[in-house]
């Protein structure tokens, strides 16, 4: 276990990760909208322009294809660009550079050219900003080969995984979450990184396996705490990395518990849960004591009204209902 040192917020853990990596390696360059003078719309990049100057912290126009394309060009030349796309809703705006350039160039050039970029983006689901400012879209980048997809749930993971991503030779999509930015947690004083591709069992339990990530982890842990009182022991897996998926940890857990509930903030259809459940059924169906259960927002855009948002997003209650369903099945 790493020795812990300080309590920091998720946002400042990210800021530290960027700061340290920029200090460590001159090739690390940030680019994106409002990341410099403004310090990012949620202040994650605060102070970095002042410290590292405008040649390393680049405020860009509102040109998402331009941002990703430029980052790819930088990466090809050996720089380590960390691009920010404000919200995942804008990933469709630069989908072409992501899908057709970022994750194809190395493959098509037979390894002669590569473009390991990191793209940071912040999920703003459930904030009342409506259908175009609330999407998650993670499963899209699992479907298309070549992305490393990360969505941490706490400051410790956020810092360690972002540092790993920046040092990685792969194309990374790094999903932050506005709900988590002010969340506090302990991190070590010294340098550390976290291996990409490994899930973490946040809570051991013998009755049911629950997978989750990003903002859903706390919801699930709270639900598990409540269910504990009813005698239900949940095993909670924080996926941390969505792709590559840590199938081993999931399957082993399900073999033990015999039940699987997947929880996600993105839509369910062709989603994270459907991938996990399919793998579980392909490889461990005989261990299942109950049909698998998928929990996700309804398959509609997010409405703006706060009254509806409450019904739309995940809640502890929905998670508890899902877990009870698999438990009560038999």
């Amino acid at each position: 276990m790493v020795k812990m040192g300080r309590i920091v917020t998720f946002a400042s853990a990210l800021n530290e990760a960027l700061y340290e990596e920029m200090e460590r390696d001159e090739r690390v360059i940030l680019l994106g909208e409002d990341i410099g003078v403004f310090g990012g719309v949620y202040k994650v990049t605060k102070g970095l322009l002042e410290k590292f100057g405008p040649s390393r912290v680049i405020d860009t126009p509102i040109s998402e294809e331009g941002i990703i394309g430029t980052a790819i060009g930088m990466a090809i030349m050996g720089l380590k660009p960390v691009a920010e796309i404000m919200y995942p809703d804008f990933l469709p705006v630069c989908m072409n550079q992501l899908v057709n350039n970022a994750v194809k160039i190395k493959y098509m050039s037979n390894g002669k050219v590569s473009s390991p970029i990191v793209v940071r983006t912040c999920i703003i689901q459930g904030r009342g900003s409506g259908a175009t400012h609330s999407q998650v879209l993670i499963p899209i980048f699992m479907h298309i080969p070549g992305f490393q997809v990360i969505a941490p749930s706490n400051p410790y993971d956020a810092k360690g995984l972002l540092k790993s991503a920046i040092r990685s030779e792969r194309v990374t999509l790094f999903f932050e979450n506005v709900v988590l930015y002010q969340k506090k947690g302990e991190i070590p004083d010294g340098e550390y990184t976290i291996p990409i591709g490994s899930a973490e069992i946040k809570r051991k339990g013998k009755d049911v396996t629950i997978t989750c990530f990003s903002s859903t982890v706390d919801i699930v842990l709270n639900a598990a705490l409540k269910l504990e009182k009813e005698g239900i022991e949940c095993e909670v897996i924080d996926l941390r990395t969505l792709w590559p998926l840590d199938e081993k940890t999931i399957i082993e857990s399900v073999k033990k518990t015999g039940r699987i509930v997947t929880v996600e903030n993105s839509w369910g259809v062709c989603g994270v849960g459907s991938e996990i459940i399919t793998r579980v059924c392909e490889k461990a169906i005989d261990y299942l004591l109950a049909p698998p259960v998928r929990i996700s927002p309804p398959h509609i855009p997010e409405p703006a009204s706060p009254a509806l948002v409450k019904k739309y997003v995940l809640s502890e209650d929905k998670v508890i209902d899902g877990i009870k369903k698999v438990i009560e099945y038999g």
Binding site: D59, I62, S129, A304, S305, L308
Partner: protein, 315 residues
């Protein structure tokens, strides 16, 4: 310009200003979900252009569109309700502050994805011509939107399709924190018209009379020639990008104060006053105050939409 028009411009700007001040208040009280983008300071541009539109002309705009929505005829009570996510909102509380539609009054939609409304405007313009309707479509975009691919593709489509589209760049000098002169090497954004073989016009976006007059001319030209025109209105937002943008580290207080001296409402107020219509002004102001207070009341007292509503209109 006739006094009725001047009074309409004044009244509309005042109503918008009061409405947005009320919205800001609600925001500060924590009653606004999501975010809030105000037009305060830019009213001359938005109201002036809309005043120049004819019946049947259509509008597409951005997330910063409470003022345009009001100017085109949506009652503030429905706008405020929408911002609060109430069932009585112009989009039933489903759209929210950034997504307003009232096609019957000409407002097709407001887009929260920067510049994405421009290709849509090209299609609407094409349809207007195809359907032999003698109308134009006006589309607002910010100075920041100009650098987006959709601006480029949309303007080019409008041009080659001979679509009656009037593209209005609301150049308020900043895209969130990005000053316009850092986002492009071009001095005047209207210059970009050259790249599409169309006409570009610069207007003083703080002057409602100039905006109205030049927009009117441009709109009528587009109506008869079926060739788009690009208008750049130079203006300024007095407040932050969104209601939460208080510090505004990207610009100086002095700069803001300098621009505030050119407040379009004060400017027009003086002109009308000099013409001897002060009583009209006071009447307008009192009415607007009451109207907005009532609208806020209405919105606050309105119910939220039923849960079932969110499952409607997906397709």
């Amino acid at each position: 310009m006739d006094i009725d028009k001047l009074l309409w411009l004044y009244k509309t700007m005042v109503r918008s200003r009061y409405m947005e001040e009320a919205l800001l208040n609600l925001y500060r009280q924590g009653k606004v979900p999501g975010t809030l983008h105000l037009s305060i300071g830019q009213e001359a541009t938005e109201v002036g252009v809309i005043a120049a539109m004819q019946k049947g002309d259509l509008l597409l705009a951005t997330y910063r569109s409470h003022c345009p929505a009001l100017a085109i005829g949506i009652h503030p009570k429905y706008i405020i309700s929408e911002v609060l996510g109430k069932a009585s909102g112009v989009c039933g509380g489903i759209g929210g502050s950034m997504h307003l539609s009232e096609p019957q009054l000409g407002l097709i939609f407001t887009s929260a994805i920067v510049a994405s409304q421009i290709p849509v405007a090209a299609g609407i313009g094409y349809a207007l011509r195809y359907l032999k309707r003698d109308n134009v479509v006006v589309v607002f975009v910010g100075d920041g939107g100009v650098n987006n691919g959709d601006f480029h593709e949309g303007l080019n489509f409008a041009a080659i399709l001979n679509a009656p589209v009037v593209v209005v760049i609301v150049n308020n000098q900043y895209a969130i924190s990005m000053p316009v002169h850092k986002s492009t090497k071009v001095k005047d954004l209207a210059t970009k018209a050259i790249a599409y073989g169309i006409e570009g016009i610069i207007v003083d976006g703080m002057n409602p009379i100039e905006v109205y007059t030049k927009a009117k001319e441009a709109i009528e030209k587009v109506r008869s020639n079926k060739t788009p025109i690009l208008i750049e209105a130079k203006t300024y937002r007095f407040l932050g990008h969104y209601a939460g943008d208080v510090d505004q580290p990207y610009r100086s207080k002095e700069e803001v104060e300098e621009w505030k001296k050119r407040d379009p409402i004060l400017y027009l107020r003086n002109i009308i006053k000099e013409k001897g219509f002060e009583s009209k002004i006071l009447e307008i102001e009192a009415e607007a105050e009451k109207e907005i207070a009532d609208a806020v009341e209405f919105a606050l007292n309105s119910p939220y939409p039923e849960e079932s509503k969110m499952f409607e209109n997906l397709w």
